[in-house]
Symmetry: C2
Subunit: 462 residues, 2 copies
């Protein structure tokens, strides 16, 4: 073991959105910071998640817009997207982003170690870097190790016919047919992308509706949307197993029924990267799904924070970055002997992107109903919105949830509806009343007016 140990105020394990933010915030607050990343800077979000999927949706946007206008018999023609060329552009853009991140970390004085880090007793960690093993000491540590595709053993990808989202995002040619198991954000965005690219897509969801974490009205409208564009939607179907069979993917149900496609995508959830971190040295607890348990200040142990996907609170880059900035700020305050505030999650917007998009911010009706809360809902449908009409895509609605005369939550589905997430989160954060909605001047015409309409519609008990 190396006798000279570099001691840092803050050691960050993981260089995704959370780790990057923790390191930069710590450095800005005057801490001496190290960051260890075993893979690529940017983590899942940049390299295998939010960003590549948005590039693919943006590149194929014309296909969907053209389809909507063709359905109205206003447009004709065809658009073809070259997936291999798109992958090449993606790699260039991502490499540029990773380089910019590395430069920003360097400029901030953060020491970056390329290697897997494992906690050791006595506020230290061992980093298996390419140029040998290193040991660093820390006053405070932020675990931001992220997550990876998760699945039961019966749905294990083989990297060939049965893929996880990492692998499907690397395809250079669209498969003829694709079965997608799971209909959260990842499954639905992939369904949209590959449907646009000409793949015959089937979505298989165990829950009785698509996007089971979203409002049932949104899940049902999503199913209608996908069916209308020729995507097969199978809900309430539990896959007993998915495996390669004669070079294709075979999905078996418990009743013996089988479905085949050229490829299967397993998008059944995410698993935490909580193994191999040396958590046992700090008696850090995991929940049943393996995510790291954290307290009110995101601490998993007296000197160790866990932020982002690895703590399982939200699997969202922006929530991860927000937690990371909190943890670094908390660490700096404690190290300076100052009082630190408890973590406040704030209003965290959530989006599913595509030809119709889902968003939510704040409380959901189902969740309030489960908790027995007294609430009302009001709605507006996109069918009447001029922007939705203009794009020939009028599916969807805005649904507002009210508690004590204030907006407690907003959810929406519609063309471009991810753009409603920011104003919705602002409205929920400010706790708007009906009068606030009347007073505020929304631009006309805009999709945002559907928010206004929903807020001014009669609120009824669900």
């Amino acid at each position: 073991m190396n006798a000279t140990i570099n001691i840092f105020d803050l050691l960050v394990i993981g260089g995704g959105p959370a780790g990057y933010e923790a390191a930069l915030t710590g450095a800005r607050l005057g801490l001496r910071v190290a960051l260890a990343e075993a893979g690529a800077l940017g983590g899942t979000c940049l390299n295998r998640g939010c960003i590549p999927t948005k590039l693919m949706l943006g590149a194929t946007c014309a296909i969907e817009e053209l389809a909507c206008q063709s359905r109205l018999r206003l447009a004709s023609g065809a658009a073809h997207v070259d997936l291999a060329a798109l992958q090449a552009r993606k790699e260039r853009l991502l490499a540029g982003s990773r380089k910019a991140m590395a430069e920003a970390l360097k400029k901030a004085g953060v020491e970056v170690f390329a290697g897997r880090a494992k906690l050791m007793p006595g506020n230290a960690a061992r980093i298996a870097a390419e140029d040998g093993e290193k040991t660093v000491g820390f006053a405070k540590c932020v675990l931001a190790a992220g997550s990876r595709p998760g699945y039961p053993r019966s749905l294990a990808p083989d990297g060939d016919a049965v893929l996880d989202s990492d692998a499907v995002l690397a395809l250079e040619t669209p498969p003829q047919s694709l079965m997608i198991v799971g209909s959260g954000a990842i499954g639905l965005e992939m369904a949209e992308i590959f449907s646009r690219l000409g793949t015959t897509v089937t979505i298989v969801e165990a829950a009785p509706r698509l996007a089971p974490s979203e409002d049932p009205e949104i899940g049902n409208a999503l199913a209608q949307y996908f069916k209308r564009k020729g995507v097969a939607v199978l809900t309430g179907i539990t896959a007993a197993g998915v495996a390669a069979f004669e070079g294709r993917a075979r999905l078996s149900l418990e009743n013996g029924e089988e479905f085949f496609a050229d490829k299967a995508l397993i998008a059944a959830g995410r698993a935490p990267n909580s193994a191999g971190l040396g958590l046992e040295e700090y008696a850090i607890a995991l929940n049943a799904a393996g995510f790291i348990e954290t307290g009110a200040d995101l601490l998993a142990a007296p000197d160790v924070y866990a932020v982002g996907d690895v703590n399982g609170r939200w699997l969202l880059a922006h929530a991860a970055a927000h937690q990371a900035a909190y943890a670094a700020g908390h660490a700096a305050a404690v190290l300076a002997g100052n009082q630190a505030k408890p973590y406040a999650p704030g209003v965290i917007p959530f989006c599913i992107y595509g030809g119709v998009e889902a968003m939510r911010a704040g409380a959901a009706a189902e969740e309030l109903a489960r908790s027995g809360a007294d609430f009302t809902v009001s709605r507006a449908f996109m069918a009447a919105n001029p922007m939705a009409q203009a794009h020939g895509q009028t599916a969807g609605l805005v649904k507002a949830v009210w508690v004590d005369g204030r907006v407690a939550g907003l959810a929406a589905l519609g063309h471009n509806a991810s753009t409603l997430a920011t104003p919705a989160a602002m409205i929920v954060a400010a706790g708007w009343t009906r009068q606030d909605a009347e007073r505020f001047i929304f631009p006309h015409p805009s999709l945002d007016e559907a928010l206004r309409e929903a807020l001014l519609a009669p609120a009824v008990r669900p």
Copy 2:
């Protein structure tokens, strides 16, 4: 003259966004309301303005998205939009909206007169309706007569080669070439639409930059954008005259130079519909441009309000509707003997729509500089935004204006940037500090993050 005069609490003259809102608000507040509209319900916005242009932009969106991806060599193909079919759809949609407006007015108990109204002495108005002339009395009147295309005599449209925006919106086939005089929202949106439809477009602007009401950085970026897509941009060029010549449009400059195109669009501003209203009977004053002068409560005379385009404060449907709701509320309060508050314009967002879109809310840097105010600006460029990258359209920026540590104004240009108008207006209305921007959680990835970046960028004196 008819001896039996119907007396209304509120007479609304004009059935556009302002008149419609005034009538419905008045009715909701218990007033007996009449509305006189000489043309079509919905006014300019619905019939000849915001809504038709958005339908045309939405219908042609695929053409622009495809062009952006083709430029990146990611996509191939072609999209063609049938303008005649689009016009037919437009007529169907607008007729549906007019019908819905008529039904809403009827349901609210508003008596609608189809005819031109003229004020008469003694709180009365004469309405030239199809079924004869009628005289109505009123306690309060709201003038919401709107505006129409305006132009100096030398640029007068002939309805054939030289068109105003009303006529250009009715074209069933795109002209081979189009000269657009003026580069405000109308001129630029038409340039985008007809460029998409394959027309060779030239923009002629007298000011030294495009969109002269917007920030210079936005105007300059707009010029680059249009030039890049093959639109000729002539700034600092004053047209001495535009007229038909051998069936085409000829634009003459003062130096004798001439430009020709199949059609010319005169988009040089708007003129108020303030003539023929009988304003002299109430000693109602007009400003130099002919717009009705109004006081702090939007009153033009003791019992007569003027709202929307006709008062010239803003030529925006949402501002018009907001003023109208205020006026009707003020009238109801006064008639009930209650105290009424002065008109507060609020934060009024402004948008120019298209392949790149401009938006602003609150104070503009130029305006603050002119007034000698102490302010700083901070910026973020769209080039780094993942949504802009995904759509292959990275032109533009977000520019924030700060006064006393609070956001006083936001302006932006970029792909889909009209969607920033609502959050920007919310931020300006709330007077965010830098800390507010740090605290709020923006969804990732989103165009909205460019707002955050601009707010967190170093603020410098301009």
